[in-house]
């Protein structure tokens, strides 16, 4: 089959194509195998939609879907230096790949080794969609119910602009590895008290785990009173066996890193 590449630059044009042609959507392309291009009648490239900027919008930060990881790191470092996404995305893949991988493609593809999804899930981000289903949807709902959103594309990712201390870890043997899992922890301090705590682990059997129970149990506790080991022990993380280690191994390692991360956050 000879695929036709199209480059819409207006929303109406894009939505028309999505509804009519069921096209293959191209973000950066690093996750699309050639066979999928070959077998698609229409490939729609989002590169001319102008969705390649990050900016503040009231209480949120909007990240354009076609922002590359590098562009996101560059722009977020200016808007919110030290943002958790800056530390996570600047460690992902390699320089030439970070220059190509887009945010939208990474949410839609959501590989098990994603450096993007942990921070987004922990921050409670949403996706802003256009197409058959449009509007804002919580990101965990979007990735867990992909079938409901067929015919729609991500225009931007909406991240609540909350000041939190962040800690990020990717489990790799050498920097360039795909991570076995990633761990994101966020804490907000109010004097001596932990006003808010959030976290997410990506790479588990269900792909990800948002630490909602832990968050509830920690909110409002004085920093000095948190029993880090006990909290880590109660973590319910189930990993699949991977090339780089068994599920059980990853379960143990994840707990150790959770403990270290939480301890570090509480010391800040």
């Amino acid at each position: 089959m000879s695929s036709k590449w199209l480059f819409p630059s207006e929303i109406d044009e894009l939505v028309g194509l999505l509804e009519r042609d069921n096209p293959l959507v191209h973000g950066g392309g690093t996750g699309i195998p050639r066979g999928r291009v070959r077998s698609s009648e229409v490939v729609v490239d989002l590169g001319r939609m102008g969705w390649d900027r990050c900016y503040e919008d009231g209480k949120d930060i909007l990240l354009g879907a076609t922002c590359s990881f590098s562009r996101t790191v560059e722009e977020l470092s200016r808007i919110r230096p030290g943002h958790i996404l800056v530390s996570a995305l600047s460690q992902a893949a390699s320089t030439p790949l970070r220059n190509r991988i887009t945010l939208g493609g990474s949410v839609a593809f959501f590989p098990l080794w994603s450096d993007l999804m942990g921070p987004l899930l922990a921050l409670g981000a949403s996706v802003d969609l256009v197409g058959t289903v449009s509007g804002r949807y919580p990101i965990d709902h979007f990735v867990s119910n992909r079938g409901l959103f067929r015919g729609s594309v991500i225009r931007s990712i909406v991240v609540p602009d909350v000041p939190m201390d962040g800690w990020y870890y990717r489990e790799v043997r050498v920097g360039f590895d795909y991570p076995g899992f990633t761990m994101t922890l966020l804490a907000q301090r109010d004097g001596e008290v932990l006003a808010d705590f959030r976290g997410a682990c990506v790479g588990t059997k269900e792909r990800f785990k948002v630490f909602n129970d832990v968050s509830e149990s920690l909110k409002g506790i004085r920093y000095g009173d948190v029993d880090v080991n006990a909290v880590a022990e109660k973590l319910d993380l189930d990993f699949p066996d991977k090339k780089s280690g068994s599920g059980e191994y990853f379960g143990q390692v994840a707990k150790v890193w959770f403990e270290r991360g939480l301890a570090e956050l509480l010391e800040r």
Binding site: W5, R34, V43, A93, S94, P96, L97, N99, F176
Partner: protein, 155 residues
């Protein structure tokens, strides 16, 4: 498909299949200095500078970048008139089999054009997508530092 590109400063029309990668389109178009190693984005042998940014051309679809400016190692210098980065790789002994060298040189070029005085950590990060199976990287680091120094001194 056909597409017009500006490659090494010269306009060029390349023919390629709709599923062709930029790597394949470049090599079929005669730019054999762009090396094909892993074809999966992991080795950096195919690295080129695309509109100012380093990319692994095996992970870029040619159709998606029609109209772009592409720089390959041959666009930097020739054997008779090498670019200071290429000369630095020779002088530092940062080349053995040479297979990774065009990609390394392009990664160095992408770094130094934005950051003329990089720290060791910045060099490590800029070259994190380029693998070498021969040199052990120490001399490659020496070459990048040497190139940076010469380019700062001589513009």
């Amino acid at each position: 498909m056909e597409g017009r590109f500006v490659i090494n400063g010269i306009e060029k029309v390349l023919s390629f299949e709709p599923d062709a990668t930029l790597l394949q389109a470049l090599r079929d178009g005669g730019f054999s200095e762009v090396k094909r190693g892993c074809d999966t984005g992991e080795c950096g042998a195919c690295a080129v500078v695309l509109n100012g940014d380093l990319v692994t051309s095996c992970k870029v679809y040619a159709a998606s970048v029609v109209g772009s400016e592409i720089l390959t190692a041959k666009g930097l210098g020739t054997v008779q008139n090498p670019h200071p980065i290429q000369q630095a790789f020779v002088d530092a002994g940062a080349i053995q089999c040479g297979f990774c060298t065009p990609g390394m040189v392009m990664a160095t070029y992408a770094l130094l054009s934005k950051n003329p005085d990089p720290t060791d950590e910045e060099i490590r990060r800029a070259l994190d997508g380029n693998k070498c199976r021969c040199t052990g990287y120490v001399k490659i680091f020496d070459a990048v530092r040497l190139a940076a120094e010469r380019m700062r001194d001589h513009g």
